[in-house]
């Protein structure tokens, strides 16, 4: 059965060591996080005035890419909402932006209806206005999935690698080869202790095998454990790291339950 050997989960990043599993399981989890976990992002922008140097569509695209806080307990996807896609507070979050002075317009200038939905990072530049230029718009944000557009992808750089296994045969190593192995390692995870070559931090190993090439054959063996993985990912702030992985697991579970029902 799948085991979590260690979990370092912070607000916006996480690192898990998952064992007793296969690459297919971890990859399914990674793909669910990328494509299926819903997130809030701006979908429609109503321009009342835009005399900025950028076209309406360019500004709208930039607004769509701004990370917005997402509360999956409160919001529902527009296509499932009781308002039949009209746009109500259950499915749509509205922002306004009105700027007439010269200067850079930032994401923090987007005013939400409710302070709860204020943008996560207020320092993302949108467009620079010069003398006499104005930008007045309204934006509507809805839930969506990463598979429809990258703006709805909450996870950043999800990845996994095999847990490294490094076996050292000290009899085949001398002082010179120990020094070479320590020097060649790009991640500096090898060190000398009492005349022996030891691994300082095995989880940082990238399985490059540079150390294997500079010593006698068989002195160092480096391989990956195909049943144990280091899984890392970050978020853009719209969802916290724990919610993201739990939601991905729930979505996968529901998909398999659906399959079970269909097969009967």
């Amino acid at each position: 059965m799948v085991k979590i050997e260690s979990a370092d989960i912070k607000e916006r990043e996480a690192r898990l060591v998952i064992s007793d599993t296969s690459p297919y399981f971890v990859n399914a989890l990674r793909r669910a996080m990328l494509r299926e976990v819903p997130k809030l992002a701006i979908e429609d922008v109503i321009f009342y005035e835009n005399s900025s140097p950028l076209f309406d569509e360019i500004i709208a695209h930039r607004l769509g890419m701004i990370p917005l806080p997402t509360d999956l307990d409160v919001l529902v996807p527009r296509e499932e909402c009781t308002c039949n896609g009209e746009g109500c507070p259950n499915c749509t979050v509205r922002y306004t932006l009105s700027r007439e002075e010269p200067g850079m317009v930032y994401s923090g200038d987007l005013q939400p209806e409710n302070e709860k939905w204020r943008v996560i990072d207020p320092n993302i530049p949108i467009v620079e206005l010069f003398e006499g230029q104005k930008l007045i718009l309204e934006a509507e944000a809805i839930l969506g999935k990463g598979k429809d557009h990258a703006k709805w992808q909450a996870v950043v750089a999800p990845g996994y690698k095999y847990y490294p296994i490094i076996e050292i045969n000290q009899d085949k190593l001398d002082e010179d080869s120990i020094k070479k192995a320590i020097e060649i390692c790009p991640k500096k995870i090898l060190e000398e202790k009492e005349g022996k070559l030891v691994v300082k931090d095995i989880e940082k190993c990238t399985l490059c095998k540079s150390c294997v090439e500079v010593v006698e054959e068989g002195a160092i063996q480096v391989r990956g454990d195909e049943t144990k993985f280091i899984f890392t990912y970050e978020t853009d702030g719209s969802l916290d790291a724990k919610t993201l992985i739990i939601k991905a697991a729930e979505i996968l579970e529901n998909k398999f339950k659906e399959l079970e029902k269909l097969i009967g």
Partner: protein, 46 residues
């Protein structure tokens, strides 16, 4: 009626596109820009 703005003196003038020999009545320029119509425009953020 759509407004046009003179490219040189920047004054807004009413022009009929059917008239031949368009010229700004203030500065004589023949370069015009169409002003953005005062309507709300809905754009997809994609």
């Amino acid at each position: 009626m759509v407004n046009y703005k003179c490219g040189i003196c920047k004054k807004t003038i009413d022009l009929n596109v059917e008239s031949i020999g368009l010229q700004c009545p203030y500065c004589g320029s023949k370069i015009f820009y169409k002003e953005r119509p005062p309507i709300a425009k809905r754009v997809k953020a994609r």
